[in-house]
């Protein structure tokens, strides 16, 4: 569990300085802060950012719950986002989801006990030519099959 220590506060302050304070940069700023806290934005962290930016906590909480790239609960080191759009669906994304669930022993929205993987679904990733597709953190993967999934996951262990 990541706690808002003085050290973390300093790290957040640096990120805030980097982005200057304007609305356009808020998402980038939150995304970077999230990496300090198990891929999540705990509400006390949002409150700290809110005081620094002079923005209400309610607004930051609203942003953090609106965008699926954010979470208020801790997530794994690797966030697997499997595309659920129609092209991927037609190309068998269901079986891909099932395979990941089986391999990791978690359901969609859950995190493995070792804190390594979180499974999520996503809307279109924009690489329909290689459907079914998924994203792990910032890396894209296409033409997925259950075998390929096993291979990718084991390379990350």
């Amino acid at each position: 569990m990541a706690i808002l220590t003085e050290e973390k506060k300093e790290q957040i302050d640096k990120i805030i300085e980097k982005y200057d304070i304007n609305d356009g940069a808020l998402l980038m700023l939150l995304k970077e802060v999230q990496e300090l806290f198990d891929n999540s934005l705990p509400v006390d962290v949002l409150d700290y950012i809110g005081h620094k930016l002079e923005r209400p906590l309610s607004q930051l909480y609203g942003v953090s719950t609106f965008y699926s790239m954010f979470s208020n609960k801790p997530r794994g080191k690797y966030i697997i986002r499997i595309c659920e759009s129609p092209p991927c669906h037609l190309m068998g994304s269901d079986s891909i989801i099932d395979c990941v669930k089986r391999e990791l022993g978690i359901d969609v929205g859950e995190t493995t006990k070792d804190g390594k993987f979180t499974l999520e679904t996503s809307s279109c990733l924009g690489i329909c030519a290689v459907a079914p597709a998924m994203m792990i953190n910032d890396q894209m993967y296409g033409n997925l099959t259950p075998d390929k999934i096993k291979q990718i996951l084991s390379s990350m262990h």
């Binding site: 569990m1 706690i3 949002l46 409150d47 906590l57 309610s58 607004q59 609203g62 609106f66 609960k73």
Partner: protein, 583 residues
């Protein structure tokens, strides 16, 4: 201003360019329904979709609140297609929540219910299809507000009010799609959040998703308990608004009838918060004089409004020394009843149940604060809003119009016009000036009314001439306006001596516990009534109230005495919001 001509339902009308179709229709005498637009706050989100209209040459139906007029626009607000679509929208809104009118506090005063009736909604084709995916249930953990997620239609008026009027920003939209809901920044209970309990969100809500924590049943239980002696006090702003709950015109002054009704409901003694407003003026006036003469912290800021107190403790804790240490009139009365009056009449204070009728939801929070026990008991036990009292009078079958005008009980029922005007923005300032002038200069005021501190403007300034010595004062109502003054103090750019801050627009007469609707026009009528009530009273200065003189002779000895410090003054502490780490 540039004008454009448009045609609405066959009628040509000229309106300023940029007017929204919703407002343009109103100019033409056509009322388009809406559940989200809130013109007082310039809020036109296009969220509820009830205001849809047909515009020639445009595809589909348009949300008229979000659509500016263009020259030559031809609009239909009541074609068959529009009416059918509106019906569907209303049906979908009904299906998106649990709209069980019979068990809703807004039954008979609900904008959605009114539309359902108006549009002949006779079936509920979509059931409760959309309810289950949302945040569910109620947040009723706090002493003041209840939020019912199941009734919320996500219009956003409460969010807008909290952000724009009060700049508190306790709430905002959270999540998305079917899961979208109004969240107090993730706090399950809004009482733990940045909320200051002002209840302005309740006045903004078109449905029954927001309402006060109801205490009428607790009070009835106390009245039915033969061991208890139940007493009541009534705030200045309730006498000019309670009539609205009982089918009387806006601005009716119902002081005597309210007293009569409270006796019939079973209260043994009916006291007037105006008395303790007078007491506040004596204490606060002398505190101001003391600060001026002894180099105390200035500007001094009034402390009658508990939403404002909580706001200051949470957002401006560095300015707490500016607050007058005087308790609010409600809490002064509470302490006086159980500590002074009980002894005087020989009643065991542990048997007293002290109730107050307030235009306010924050008062429910205030009476439960741990500091508010100077009598050794909770000084005020229950607070009922104007709305709750109105409902109770109707429930009791009391024909309000036929009630005689009765008088408050002495000695805590005698009051001056200065006490009455506490209910309007600028009133505490004016009441204080009436007393401070005469006490400092020891001569009568040339004119009782201080017109310069009255008015609707959010922030007002006045310079008061105290026999050649000029004193600069300021008044703010609505915390967004208060913030402007507070930021000036923080920046050291402020030469005011005395500031009045009221949480709610218009002052208490626009409080979160007042009858619904409360809007600019209605507030103006209540304001006029408050000043009319002041003019009608024989005594109009707090220090001339004989019962006030007597309580000082009998008990307090003099203003700011040790006894008055014990019962009538309080202290404040920074109250930051604690966000738990619940990972």
């Amino acid at each position: 201003m540039e004008k454009v001509t448009i045609t609405i339902d066959g009628q040509k009308v000229e309106v300023p360019a940029g007017t929204r179709v919703l407002d343009a229709a109103a100019i033409a005498g056509i009322k388009i329904p809406t559940l989200c637009a809130y013109s007082a706050l310039d809020y036109y989100p296009g969220a509820c979709r009830v205001c849809i209209v047909q515009v020639e040459g445009m595809r589909g139906l348009q949300a008229s609140c979000a659509l500016p007029v263009r020259d030559g626009m031809v609009i239909s607000t009541r074609s068959k297609e529009v009416i059918e679509a509106r019906k569907t929208v209303i049906e979908l809104l009904l299906s998106s929540g649990v709209h069980d009118c019979n068990t809703c506090p807004r039954n008979n005063n609900c904008e959605l219910q009114t539309l359902a009736e108006m549009y002949n909604i006779r079936t509920n084709p979509y059931g409760n299809a959309l309810v289950n995916k949302r945040e569910k249930g109620k947040d009723d953990a706090g002493p003041a507000l209840v939020r019912d997620y199941d009734r919320c239609i996500l219009c956003g008026r409460c969010v807008q009010t909290c952000a724009v009027v009060q700049t508190v920003n306790a709430i905002d939209f959270a999540d998305r799609g079917y899961k979208a809901h109004i969240s107090a920044a993730g706090f399950p209970n809004i009482v733990d959040s940045y909320c200051i309990n002002c209840g302005q969100c309740i006045l903004a809500c078109p449905v029954g998703a927001l309402y006060e924590k109801e205490d009428v049943d607790n009070v009835i239980d106390a009245i039915n308990d033969p061991e208890k002696i139940v007493v009541v006090q009534t705030a200045p702003a309730t006498r000019i608004s309670l009539g609205e709950e009982l089918d009387m015109p806006y601005g009716s002054i119902v002081t005597g009838k309210m007293v009569a009704a409270l006796r019939r409901l079973g209260f043994k003694y009916v006291f007037d918060t105006d008395f303790s407003a007078d007491l506040t003026i004596i204490e606060e006036g002398h505190e101001l004089i003391h600060r001026i003469q002894n180099g105390g912290t200035l500007p001094m800021i009034t402390s009658c409004s508990p939403g404002w107190i909580r706001f200051c403790e949470t957002f401006y804790p560095d300015l707490l020394d500016h607050l007058s240490t005087c308790k609010s009139p409600q809490q002064m009365m509470g302490a006086v009843i159980k500590a002074y009056w009980a002894k005087k009449v020989g009643i065991d204070p542990s048997k007293i149940v002290s109730v107050s009728i307030m235009p306010c939801t924050a008062k429910k929070y205030e009476c439960q604060r741990p500091e508010m026990r100077s009598s050794g008991y909770q000084d005020v036990d229950y607070v009922l809003t104007t709305r709750e009292l109105g409902r109770w009078i109707r429930q009791a079958g009391i024909d309000f119009s036929k009630l005689p005008e009765e008088h408050y009980d002495d000695p805590l029922g005698e009051s001056s016009g200065a006490g009455v005007i506490f209910g309007a923005t600028g009133g505490v300032m004016e009441a204080a000036l009436r007393t401070v002038y005469e006490v400092i200069l020891n001569k009568p005021l040339p004119k009782i009314e201080f017109e310069s501190v009255r008015g609707e403007q959010g922030v007002r300034e006045a310079v008061i001439d105290l026999d050649g010595k000029e004193v600069k004062v300021a008044i703010a109502h609505g915390l967004g306006n208060a913030r402007k003054l507070l930021d000036k103090i923080r920046a050291g750019e402020c030469d005011y001596t005395f500031i009045e801050i009221m949480t709610c627009p218009g002052g208490c007469l626009g409080g979160g516990g007042q009858p619904i609707p409360t809007n600019t026009e209605i507030r103006a009528k209540r304001t006029e009534a408050i000043y009319r009530a002041d003019e009608g009273l024989p005594i109009r200065k707090s220090h001339e109230n004989p019962s006030i003189k007597k309580i000082y002779e009998d008990y307090f000895e003099k203003p700011l005495s040790e006894k008055s410090h014990h019962l009538l003054h309080t202290h404040y502490t920074p109250r930051p919001v604690i966000v738990p780490n619940d990972n």
